[in-house]
Subunit: 441 residues, 3 copies
């Protein structure tokens, strides 16, 4: 007991004061939310436009779905621990609200982050550490992780020109391996003495609230930033099919790997979602319905087997304790997503995509001033690209995946080292693990 300290409150208030100053210095309303913007004036002389065409109408419903995934989905999914429900939903709330502000501000500096996706990356890392850190450690981790996350995403999208519509590489792989590396560094050798790492009947049902909202709204996550029209439509369909297949295969594998042929609630809560991760990178590509179903099936097997056999192995052999099994839900399925995206990019052609190929893979558009570009521009207004071939694009997809993996591992480990400092109130004893009463009055 007595482990909580006022340092947390002082740190949060300091961050918030800095955020307030940065908001005042760096931000203003975008033209679509600015009353002064002539386009909003309805004045034909000033190119006024129909207010019904304001982008809020287009993005708001999917944005709200993603919002539900972040706050209800992640928050309740982690309530499965019998004595850490307040920490799960409460700290999820805190960290996500912190990240929303910091990611918006960092975006104003670097133009590479997207606040809710950024929050997802941090919450995935939180899943690996659930019940084992102080709130202050989480806050510091979130602060650092957002900067590295944004940098890595910027490199992937702008330098490598890789595409990743559902963020399976830049969000899921990054978040998972950042968190797992930090968990390795923060490993507590007494952890198996704790009797509190487990669920009770009702905590498992609370967790299902999270599972089901994540599962339902995952098509919004994978399609929210897709190009409007058929790309977005396809991202919804592919994700929906991958998830449906993943759900039922998870039940099958869960039963088949159990000696009494029973289902394991951990598998149902988590592995059913792996299809959404695994199809994330290729969700807007022409992978065909059966391709989406196939990816969902593979993800279910990979993830369920991961929970059954790999998580215990990582804990015992590599001293990586992964409370929520993020390696199985986000890590390995995210790697699978990156591989599927690489393969799908390899097979992408004008023959299959029409000219919308250049919308899905902007770097494949012909070079500026080239004859091919002029030919396309007579019928379709596109930006010039790098004139990449399919195999070049595929190669960059693979490079983005590998780089993301290594950046995440390195940055997570270094952040973990920082968090070991005693100044951050981290628990050091097994009696301080997976227990709300240390932090909640």
């Amino acid at each position: 007991m007595g482990v909580a300290s006022k340092k947390f409150g002082i740190a949060v208030l300091s961050f918030q004061v800095v955020f307030l100053v940065l908001f005042a210095l760096l931000t203003t309303y975008d033209s679509e939310a600015d009353a002064r913007y002539p386009g909003n004036s309805l004045d034909p002389d000033k190119n006024g436009t129909d207010p019904e065409r304001n982008s809020i109408a287009k993005y708001y419903p999917m944005f709200q779905d993603v919002h539900v995934m972040i706050f209800i989905g992640f928050g309740f999914l982690m309530t499965f621990l019998k004595r850490y429900g307040f920490g799960a939903v409460g700290l999820n709330f805190l960290i996500a609200a912190f990240v929303l502000q910091w990611a918006i501000l960092f975006h104003a500096i670097l133009h590479a982050a997207h606040a809710d996706f950024a929050a997802a990356a941090v919450l995935i890392s939180f899943g690996a550490l659930l019940g084992k850190t102080s709130p202050l450690q989480l806050l510091i981790m979130a602060f650092i992780e957002i900067m590295i996350f944004s940098l890595n995403e910027w490199i992937g999208l702008t330098i490598f020109k890789a595409v990743d519509v559902g963020g399976s590489m830049f969000v899921h792989v990054f978040g998972a391996y950042f968190g797992l590396s930090a968990a390795r560094v923060l490993y507590n050798p007494e952890i198996d003495k704790s009797s509190k790492e487990g669920s009770i009947y009702h905590s498992d049902i609370f967790a299902m609230i999270g599972t089901v909202f994540l599962w339902m709204y995952w098509p919004s996550f994978n399609s929210a930033v897709a190009a409007a029209g058929d790309d977005q439509h396809r991202a919804v369909i592919n994700t929906y099919l991958a998830l449906a297949a993943c759900c039922i295969v998870t039940f099958a594998i869960s039963s088949l790997t159990d000696k009494d042929a029973k289902f394991d609630m951990v598998h149902v809560q988590n592995a059913t979602l792996a299809g959404g991760v695994a199809v994330g990178t290729s969700a807007d590509m022409m992978i065909q319905p059966f391709g989406a179903v196939l990816i969902g099936c593979i993800a279910a097997v990979l993830s369920t087997v991961g929970y059954k056999y790999i998580t215990p192995g990582l804990n015992i052999k590599l001293k990586i304790h992964d409370t929520c099994g993020v390696n199985n839900l986000h890590g390995m399925p995210g790697l699978l997503a990156g591989i599927c995206g690489t393969i799908a990019a390899w097979f992408a052609s004008v023959n299959t995509y029409g000219y919308s190929l250049y919308q899905t893979f902007p770097a494949r558009a012909p070079l500026a001033n080239s004859t091919s570009l002029h030919k396309i521009q007579t019928v379709l207004s596109i930006e010039p690209g790098d004139g990449r071939s399919a195999s070049t694009q595929a190669m960059y997809q693979a490079i983005a995946l590998v780089v993301t993996f290594f950046v995440a591992c390195t940055a997570g480990a270094l952040t973990g080292l920082l968090l070991r400092l005693s100044i951050f109130d981290g628990p050091r004893k097994y009696s301080r693990l997976f227990e709300d009463t240390l932090w909640w009055g």
Copy 2:
């Protein structure tokens, strides 16, 4: 104990392999999700269209609401049993994801199903059987039921040309009486020895999550497939009003029928929703606001009285044990919906609907090449119909209702007979009822 077997997992995997093959053979992206489709190319020479007009923007928010009803609504509504919460939300998840795939594939064969509505029918049947079957029995039932459901719906919509915007006949009546017939055949004479058929305090609150999400999003269910414009708008308003009236009348009847004037949580969880079922067939018709309120009031009385007096009677006298009381929430209110739809169709006229009469009731449009059709087509582009009178349309509405009822009863009973085979791991002892630990490790 020891009742679960590996047969379930093998069955699911076999189904999923077949589904995968069928997806590869039978499905491809619809034009609105196909990158190759010229209309998506933005190329004016190819009739390219505005990507903002892609149908995803129109249907997606309501589709997601229905999705929440299926997975959160049905799933949590059934968590009321004190020892069957995993089964409720978990098997609901499994069965719905199985049906989504199977209904999409069957649709590719017969063109008559709509995946989420199809899932609702199966989940209603599941409600009658909750806690009394093995997962394998449910899976087989879902597989069979979807085929009969699709066939019956196809007959109703295509042969009888009945209309049923909220699916109260084709989904609710069908699902309820299919499940009740199966429950009759699977009747366990020892059932009243079980001490586990009841709720505890927190399981009732979990169930309210399901109730409230179903109640809130029911207007989406009843209007999702309505014709765009005033039809859909009316379906929302009518459902909203019927539900509001149904909710408060349920509280009144629940208190008035109790000897201590107390509320019964079962009534509040279920009968409050009956108004949404009862207004389903006529939701897009010109029943006027007071008509919707009246239907909601009648449904509340019917459903609450059903829970109080009819469900115990069915169990004792007819050996039909109805765990969730689907007869009261879906069966009788669905029959009421069919009757209200018949009456509303009887009174429908061009005088009341304008030419949109032929949008709401396509079979009432004049015959091909008739003078009346040509006259209408000068101002409105409609398909030729059968030139039905109001009373003829009403008659077909009634026929569709009666046929649905008998098809459901017959098919449910035959399916129940099949499920009695011991190969399907069904529980035969009262100690195996309403108990998660048999199936969940």
Copy 3:
């Protein structure tokens, strides 16, 4: 025991019969939901319009978000009491469904209410009285409160021409002080003898479902009735930022004001939302992102300090027992919202807003037939206003706030006096407080 009576059921049925008659006499479908309306006929000779432009598509997603806030948000937020979960979510459901109908009907008489907003006002008052009234008392209170609410809102919007896009004055201040005044009059001197006013572990997690849904969808609440386009967009952004800042500052203050630096679940459940209330009046104004963040920070401090110090003081010194602390979540943050709105109105100018100033503040538009109006109307179609200056508009904002406060206090106290009549089954003994078993069988 034995306190429930049949009077409740009879009262509800009587109300519902009256409602049914009033629906028949007073209501009909609006043109956008009326099949007969020529604009829906698609007939170009009758000015038929594109059904895709029907207003349902524009308002429905945000309307559904607000609906979730009312039924899930308010309902589950109040489940925190260990023995009053049925009352919280059940009576919330009853009262809201009652109000939806009554507010729609009253709107048909007075044209001033908006059903879901009206429900919010009553549910806020319910929060002050939670666990201390009979269902019949609540019903009577709702019936009366809606009339006063509608009248006050009508005075504010039509006479004072104040603006309040998120209803922070007309909904939150009104609902809170109406409920607190009623609570004062209904004060039970034995209340501190009750051992049931407290939470248990799982009831606090149920309450978090309410908190998080309210928090997520609050941007919809504050922007649902904003003018389409940049006004609505701005209302979403400002609310989102105020809430994000409010959340993390609440955690900070909660920890800093605790002797062991622990978080208090009551603060996390409630004070995190105060930013949404506090930014409500000015949400569509040009307060800039940093202004929204600042308002969120101040609201967090005000609300958390309120829960910690003011609520116990009100109970002991003023005999105002506030079960949910609505003074801290709705009352004081609502007053803050009114003050922020006054200040923002003071600084509003054509320079900052362009001509959309007259959309945000209609009374500031020039007088009919004035030269300035004609000049504006050459480029923008607006209604004539009162030609108010910024300071005049600010003054009316302040007047609306003060009038709302006093109307709410007076009407709440008078209603409380009425509810003291023994005919309404109100509990008089501490053993009848915060206990579901009195009302639920």
